[in-house]
Symmetry: C2
Subunit: 429 residues, 2 copies
């Protein structure tokens, strides 16, 4: 008998019919011999309606009260889900975050889980019940209702799985896994069957919106293996876990595209210590999210600093950067939208040299100009023109051997076989 | 500084605008120098929507889960009300039933309050906050969410008022008090300014739907003086409290009409011990609510037993009473709809004899035939034809001096002066 935590997102429980489907799926999981804890989100749309209600009574609602308000969304779903299971002949009880023993700090609307005391969960499981836990919420040490902020229900599921030492945590969502690239861009993108926490984190930070980084980080920290899969079919999804030797044979796990970026270059910056920190401190003050930062080696006592930001923050930069530039004695600045970031991610690149060279070569052959480059241990990102980024993604996806093979049966063998041979990537010498 | 508990029903908090109005009223109560605890219901319509949702996932939802579901209704209102107060510049915090320390037994959907530990309420009051408490809900000894059933929010308010030793408990509702009769029947019905718990209980049981009996009983038991008043105006309402000497000077406090009754008479019932109990036990089995029961003295070894029931339960009686009548060896039974109950209520009748006689005399003069009579210490009820009951109510209302006087200024003097002189009612000798 396995102990399984399942998490169902807002779309999966978005209507009474869908809740009944979820109830059937949970019951089936129990029927085949498992103990099941299901974490559920608010029905899709409910949270937005509650926020709208709040706006109608107060322009800036108190955060403590927002938590009291929003937590009703998940509470509604746990009750309906438990009822549905009971109505189908099963035995289920619902628990709010507080009842489930989820204790958080006191930072309303963005609380962090401090600890979980799963006594009630265990005692209901022991008497043969399915336990339905409200995602996204907890109780502070002072007994206040708190919510966990974005991605909170995923986090609840993973934290509960860690606390009760579940054998598996399944994150059911409206996508059926993590893909090697956005299938809207690369038609032959394939579902990734296994991915390491670090790769998943890079994919998440690159805008692959399957899951928030914090949940992946939590899972990594507490060794929770989880699977991202669809609640609308029975296909296996993507399993996220610590890297294994086999994983490293795949050099590139996925290709990611971030659109609507802008590039800002400050020219002739005096090349002395502390200047860069002053620039980016000032930018932080005006609350602009800087992504990539590139500084070239200096020539003649000055240097150029370039960075990228979301394009919609460009007006703020254009309004406020002038004085900062003047203050540090730089020559001036230029800002440009219409660019995008193209990244490849894979833990395999740690043991396979020449990945960057191969990527640049592929893009070069495709006549796609690289404007900026930034690398980490398991990621290479380049900035290109936004109107060429899709072409670039397809070229890189194919070039690194990520395209789906014809027969879906072969998909299982992907991790071991669907890779270009290492020698193709390794630089000679 | 007084400590005031206010309760706002579903209609009073039925929209964001109304919640803002309630917030202003609460703030004003605090501004003039009071500490305020407000108990709120679910926004009108919300509970019904939740019940409908439940029906869509399960035909007979588990009661435990119904409580988890329905309690979100009040939780939504407490958050919105606290936000609204904060948005208007006040300082408010919300508490669910569990957080407010309301502990109940474990009977889901109809729990009874076992005790209240108002530690959190006091500590928030002490720091200058207004405290908004969710009505209708509590937490069982085992930590389960419970709801209190019909009239639960009124009960919460009165129980909280008792627990924190409030100086006053104000029940804000969509009517502006208890009237001497339904103003739709008697145009000159007047608002009752003070009424005793016992009179209020009789009015409640007579279908004056201002408040459930259980809340009034609770208030009586724990000496909570409360006022029923409108949340839509600033008029004083009706104060309900233990009877005072002054109250007894009013012989009749109010006149009540119960329509849609039916009368059933079982004829030639053998006049021996235990027969009546068998009849009414059998009727209880078929789940019919019997109201008045009248048995005349017997003649020739048999008697007639008459009783009244809600008219819509007549089919059940007609279906099931035959065998019961046969079993006890009675002659037969006759059932008749189209009757109504007309009652007068007043603690003053305890010290003023002749009230019944006066009532019968008034009805007789109005040529309204009395079919059954039932009396209690502070109530006289008669059964009349339904199509004459409004006339009867007006005649009795006027006859007992309850009609509104022209100037509303005089209303204040009503309790002392608006009564027929006792000698008119007292029988000579």
């Amino acid at each position: 008998m396995s102990l399984i935590v399942q998490k169902y997102g807002g779309t999966s429980v978005g209507s009474p019919d869908r809740i009944l489907n979820v109830a059937r799926r949970i019951l089936e999981t129990q029927r085949v011999g498992n103990q099941v804890v299901a974490v559920v989100s608010a029905m899709s749309g409910v949270t937005d309606s509650l926020i709208e209600l709040a706006r109608q009574v107060a322009p800036h609602p108190t955060e403590r009260e927002m938590d009291v308000l929003l937590s009703t969304g998940e509470q509604t779903t746990i009750a309906l889900t438990a009822m549905a299971i009971n109505g189908l002949g099963g035995q289920a009880v619902s628990l709010t975050g507080a009842q489930a023993g989820i204790v958080t700090d006191g930072f309303h609307t963005k609380a962090k889980i401090a600890n979980i005391t799963p006594k009630r969960i265990h005692s209901f499981l022991d008497e043969g019940s399915i336990v339905i836990v409200a995602g996204f919420q907890g109780e502070s040490f002072e007994g206040q209702i708190t919510t966990l902020g974005r991605g909170g229900s995923d986090l609840t599921a993973i934290a509960v799985a860690a606390a009760i030492k579940a054998d598996l945590c399944q994150i059911f969502t409206d996508v059926d896994g993590v893909y090697s690239c956005d299938p809207r861009i690369v038609k032959r993108a394939r579902k990734i069957l296994e991915i390491s926490y670090d790769e998943m984190l890079e994919m998440a930070s690159l805008g692959s919106k399957v899951m928030q980084s914090r949940s992946v980080e939590f899972a990594k920290k507490f060794d929770v293996i989880f699977e991202v899969r669809s609640s609308f079919n029975d296909q296996p999804g993507t399993v996220v876990k610590h890297e294994t030797a086999g994983m490293e044979k795949v050099v590139i796990r996925g290709v990611s595209v971030d659109r609507k970026q802008a590039k800002v270059t400050i020219s002739r910056v005096p090349d002395k210590p502390g200047v860069a920190s002053r620039v980016f401190n000032e930018i932080a003050v005006i609350n602009v999210n800087v992504d990539m930062i590139v500084q070239n080696v200096s020539a003649a006592g000055t240097t150029d600093i370039s960075f990228t930001i979301p394009a919609d923050e460009l007006p703020k930069i254009e309004k406020h950067l002038g004085p900062i530039v003047a203050e540090i004695g730089a020559g001036g600045f230029a800002a440009q939208a219409g660019i995008a970031k193209l990244s490849v991610v894979g833990i395999g690149m740690r043991s396979h040299s020449g990945v960057a060279a191969r990527m640049f070569e592929l893009l070069g052959k495709g006549e796609i100009n690289i404007q900026m480059i930034s690398t980490s241990e398991i990621k290479i990102s380049v900035i290109v023109d936004e109107d060429r980024v899709d072409d670039g993604a397809r070229i890189v996806h194919t070039g690194f051997g990520l395209d789906e093979v014809e027969s879906s049966e072969n998909e299982i063998g992907f991790i071991e076989s669907g890779v270009p041979a290492p020698h193709k990537l390794r630089r000679s010498g």
